[in-house]
């Protein structure tokens, strides 16, 4: 069996793949770098698959906290892992958009699923999940509710500021002038989508476009991005755990390469 672990900034995932490449188990915890959630997710996937660490032939760790998990055989970046995970789950894909808590990335793949180019957001939080988090604070709702709220929007209100601090005050003043929270929520999604769209055009994008990461669970975000790109945006199963799944795939590939079993 092959184990993949993704230690992100705000969540941790693990995935287990069988000898013949079947996905056996996936686990997600909402605690990231700095916590010991990686121990929990490893325990979760092993128990779900009814197995122990002894059966794991090779482990790859990825994500921001990847240097924390010393027991791994190898550490690989989440860029490469997302590419592998998406290839495994979705077949041929040309563009991956991953909107994370701190970082957003756009990955361009070649026909064989290898990374051809990639781009990550600059320091600014405008195109990341962090921006949406700030918005939930202003709108007084949970991250889960934000998407539903935006779905009920009837009118488009642009949020123009790139700077999160400015955007926050812009949103507050919108609400103060009587704009509906639903419309503001939609505006926030569109604002993030626009920033991500900018990254997409910088690196170049084409169908099929897949969105990964926890923010992909937010259907309004997927819709906003799809509208900006003018293309359908698909979300893979286990979208939160794509990095971990990719890490497990990388573990399998690396192991087979070492053993001379490369297909």
């Amino acid at each position: 069996m092959f184990l993949g672990i993704d230690i992100g900034s705000s969540s941790t995932e693990a995935a287990l793949i069988s000898e013949d490449g079947k996905l056996l188990a996936v686990a997600v915890r909402n605690a990231g770098t700095g916590s010991r959630a990686y121990e929990e997710v490893v325990r979760d996937v092993l128990s779900e698959a009814g197995t122990t660490m002894d059966d794991v032939r090779y482990t790859v760790v990825t994500g921001y906290g990847r240097t924390l998990y010393k027991e791994a055989d190898r550490q690989i970046t989440e860029i490469t892992c997302h590419a592998k995970g998406v290839r495994y789950l979705m077949g041929r894909v040309s563009t991956i958009v991953d909107i994370g808590g701190q970082d957003s990335k756009v990955i361009k793949l070649d026909e064989d699923g290898n990374v051809k180019n990639f781009l990550m957001n600059e320091k600014c939080a405008a195109g990341t999940g962090r921006f949406l988090e700030v918005m939930t604070r202003v709108l007084g709702c949970s991250l889960e509710d934000l998407s539903d709220m935006a779905d009920r929007s009837t009118r488009f209100i642009p949020i123009n500021n790139v700077c999160t601090v400015f955007a926050e005050s812009e949103v507050i003043s919108r609400l103060a002038t009587g704009e509906a929270p639903e419309d503001v929520a939609r505006g926030a999604h569109v604002a993030v989508a626009k920033r991500v769209m900018g990254m997409c055009s910088r690196v170049g994008y084409s169908p099929k476009v897949v969105m990964t990461g926890g923010v992909a669970l937010n259907s309004n975000m997927v819709d906003a991005l799809s509208q900006e790109l003018g293309l359908p945006v698909e979300v893979p199963p286990h979208c939160q755990a794509v990095g971990a799944i990719g890490a497990a795939v990388a573990a399998m590939e690396t192991y087979k390469k070492i053993m001379g079993e490369e297909s």
Binding site: N160, N161, V162, C163, F166, S169, E170, I172, S173, K194, M197, G198, C200, S201, R202
Partner: protein
């Protein structure tokens, strides 16, 4: 003729703007050469060679004012342009790709004409344009004047470039420069600039018949029509209107009184023009002048290329802090200015990175309050209405306090 006389200067302004762009598009359609040029450049040379000229900065401002900038900005950023560079440049590079704006279309250029007296940025921006479009570029490099006056060495260097530009234009058009025609253009330029200066000088009257935000609009034509009959007519008409208003004791607006007189330092926030204007007007604040009237006062002896060089390299943006302090101080004195609103314009590092010091100096020297707000000339994302209004309020409070002290005779101004 009678009909034309009936036009107000504002109507004429709109008419001439339309004529300027239509003329350029028409020229292009007829296969005539079109140049893109920077906003304070010796375009007398282009006019004398019958080259139709449009000004990307004017165009970007128009796009910004129509709230259309984001489309072009996003396009340029997609090509790899950093969001930290000048938004006029981003709008323009985006336009080169997209080639259509609802606000206004302009013909693609056959020649690039760039003058660095306004900033170093246009050197890089126009270099990129020429490379991208595979067209010739004429550069007039006007080094920043770190000494108070323009040096003789710099004058000689710029004169050499003016002569070179004439040679490049002769190569480009295939015909010789007609120096009589150039002299005519220089004459006309000088005359128009005088009317521009005389018109904007009406801001000195109290209350000012001049509404500074109108000046932002007229600026577009002092950029592009200094050497034309039309421009000459416009600024003369504007002068006469202001004169009449002043004589009738009329202030800047019909619906409100001028209570405070300020300098707005820097370019307008085009995408938020109406917000920035209305907020000021709400408090009775009128922008009576800025550093711009002198920036386009390009007067020199006709046929004197050294004078032309000195004049073009001598605008405010290209001058040292001591000069800036003196210019600001004399504006404050001559126009009865009570406060300064500095636009920390994310696009314009050349203005921004001096404004803190200019602010300190005029506070010390002239004893008037000032505030700085964050904004941008065309990128709508770098402006916060809440911040702007708070800063304006603060300025008004300080100006009011000064007025009070003055009434009590404590302040000697």
């Amino acid at each position: 003729m009678a009909e034309e006389n009936a036009l107000t200067s504002k109507q004429l302004l709109n008419e001439l703007t339309a004529k300027h762009y239509e003329g350029a598009l028409q020229a292009k359609a007829e296969g005539k050469p079109v140049a893109w040029a920077t906003s304070i450049c010796p375009d007398e040379l282009l006019a004398a060679m019958d080259i139709t000229t449009v000004y990307p900065e004017n165009h970007a401002a128009a796009i910004g004012a129509r709230k259309e900038a984001m489309k072009f900005i996003e396009q340029a950023e997609g090509d790899g342009y950093s969001s930290d560079i000048c938004s006029y440049a981003r709008v323009n590079m985006g336009y080169v790709d997209l080639k259509h704006a609802d606000a206004q279309d302009i013909p693609m250029p056959d020649l690039i004409f760039s003058s660095t007296n306004i900033c170093h940025t246009v050197l890089k921006w126009y270099e990129n344009l020429a490379k991208k479009l595979h067209i010739p570029l004429i550069l007039l490099d006007m080094p920043f004047n770190h000494t108070y006056e323009v040096s003789d060495n710099a004058t000689k260097y710029i004169r050499g470039q003016l002569e070179n530009a004439i040679r490049q234009l002769e190569d480009f058009t295939g015909h010789r420069m007609d120096y009589d025609k150039l002299a005519e253009k220089m004459d006309m330029n000088n005359a128009t600039c005088e009317w521009w200066k005389k018109a904007t000088d009406w801001g000195k009257v109290n209350p000012s018949p001049l509404n500074g935000f109108d000046m932002f609009n007229y600026m577009a034509l002092i950029v592009c029509m200094r050497n034309s009959e039309d421009g000459h007519k416009l600024f003369k008409l504007w002068y006469e209107e202001l004169k009449q208003k002043a004589e009738e004791g009329k202030g800047p607006w019909n619906s409100a009184e001028e209570k405070y007189r300020i300098i707005w330092d820097g370019i307008a926030c085009w995408p938020h023009l109406s917000t920035t204007f209305k907020t000021l007007k709400k408090y009775g604040v009128n922008m009576v002048t800025s550093t711009y009237p002198s920036s386009w006062y390009k007067v020199y002896e006709t046929n004197d290329l050294d004078g032309m060089a000195r004049s073009y390299t001598g605008n405010y943006a290209n001058r040292n802090l001591d000069f800036g302090e003196d210019l600001m101080s004399s504006l404050i004195k001559d126009f009865g200015v009570e406060g300064v609103l500095f636009h920390s314009n994310r696009s314009c590092k050349l203005m921004d990175f001096r404004c803190y010091e200019v602010q300190r100096r005029i506070t010390d020297k002239m004893g008037i309050p000032s505030v700085i707000f964050d904004g941008d000339q065309t990128d709508p994302r770098v402006f916060s209405e809440a911040q702007y209004e708070t800063r304006v309020q603060a300025l008004v409070e300080m100006m009011e306090k000064n007025k009070e002290l003055k009434r009590r005779g404590d302040l000697d101004v």
